[in-house]
Amino acid sequence: MDLEPNKKFVVPIGPQHPALKEPGHFEFAVDGEIVTGATVRLGFVHRGIEKSAESRTYVQNLYLMERVCGICSHVHGTAFTIGVEHLAGVTVPPRANAIRVLVAELERIHSHMLWLGVAAHEGGFDTLFMYSWRDREKVMDILEEISGNRVHYSANVIGGVKFDISEEQRGKILSSLDFLEERTRHYLKVVNEDETFLGRTVGVGIMTREQAESLGAVGPTARASGVERDIRVDAPYAGYEQFPVRMITDTRGDLHARFVVRIEELFEAYRVIREILDHMPEGELTARVPRRIPAGETISRVEAPRGELLYYIKSNGTDMPERVKVRTPSLCNWGSITSVAVGHKLADMPMLLVGIDPCFSCNDRTITIKSAGVDLGWTWEDLRQHGIEAYR
């Protein structure tokens, strides 16, 4: 046995591990029980989506972008279509915008409930996991009812949306919302009152406002640290101008605050959905969009369940984009883990990890840093070769 006193003991976790359903590799340096350093290695699900987008048409790309992430597929579609519509100079009919917001908020409900369950599971609270996933099925039913699919609902088309909300569906959504709202109240009570749960969350993983700002945290993770940052409020897109949301923040910055912020956001989502269903604008669902998109470049931002999602699209006047760049919220939040983890017990790591609601499928990408004067554009062949070499 090595008893050298200064030697660090490193606990590797992943990429295949029972806690998270996606591959990521972590290394925690520990001193006894206490974590003294943490590193993350991502990249196991890098599929090369941005490059693939350059050889697909805009319509094909819409479906590709939805598949960046299965949990928040609608916001990816929305961000992409908003960008393309902006380039094409098309105005989306108000009814389509309202339906986009409706689906986005339904998606937020499903995502937050999914997260609540997984987070509770990491804390060893499987009862809450089962309850929240049971109730989440209600949202999945609504999504399936209106779109025909449980996960990739594909609500967007370039220029509008694909489906309408009928009177009958409206009634179903409203009655499901009543049920969900009642359940959510119960969850809030559990999260605020359960002794063991409080013991594992209050004062754990505190990220101050300054830290959150300097680490570039986004979404509920940042809002739980008191950072007022929500694209739905700061720069309303789609129908959020007509159906404004209230920003939920908390100043405590610990794990408990992250739970509370997300659960409060659920109530806000229920309210917005009811509002939309009561004041649904009349009119068309789609606007005509030319197949060739005029040359230009644009940036579109939307608020995904996990935070700000940014798309940059550059068009060269053909029916395929020249460049699509995706910046997803999870990647911005990763930095907070590695610095917040230090000083905590190893046993708190799973909960800290899920505290940011991590998602791997959307943050695995390659980046080359451009140095002055050298063109580092990669062709398809270069990338393939690089991939083969790197993982031989």
């Binding site: 359903k21 599929r47 949990i71 597929s73 999945m140 449980r150 499928s361």
Partner: protein, 154 residues
């Protein structure tokens, strides 16, 4: 030293093993590059509405305990080696279920530079569950179909 049993015993023991395997297979799940959609549906099969465990199927974390590998997503270059390693760690006999269009053909990511291809280009697959993503019922059906096929004497 190997003990040789008389053939009727071998038959009984083999029958018993097959019976146990079919009635309580342990499953491991690996995401080799999927978009997450398939994974959340697999997780949904564990939860009260679908409750896979009532069929004796248990999802657990270690490849060394697993009989069935449920694999989602296209195989990316980085995860290929991991996938193989997990498969090698599983005890015989082992089976692979590929879930989702991506696992079957590469799906929307087909042809991308970082994709090796479908799961069956890397591992022998026993059951395919198509869909993007497949419904939880379909995933359960896939696993049950695999178990049914084991009932036939090989």
């Amino acid at each position: 030293m190997e003990t040789k049993l008389a053939s009727p015993w071998v038959k009984v023991i083999e029958g018993l093993k097959a019976w146990a395997r079919i009635n309580s297979p342990w499953v491991i799940h690996y995401n080799s590059g999927s978009c997450n959609g398939c994974d959340i549906e697999i997780l949904a099969t564990l939860t009260p509405r679908y409750d896979l465990e009532r069929l004796g199927i248990k999802i657990q974390g270690s490849p060394r305990h697993a009989d069935v590998l449920i694999c989602t997503g296209p195989v990316t270059r980085q995860s290929r080696e991991r996938l193989l390693r997990i498969y090698e760690q599983m005890p015989e006999p082992k089976f692979v279920v590929a879930v989702g269009s991506c696992g079957l053909s590469g799906g929307v990511f087909h042809g991308s530079y970082n994709i090796v291809g479908s799961i069956d280009e890397v591992l022998p697959v026993s059951a395919y569950v198509p869909g993007c993503p497949p419904r939880p019922e379909a995933i359960i059906h896939g696993v049950v179909a695999l178990l049914e096929s084991l009932k036939q004497p090989a």
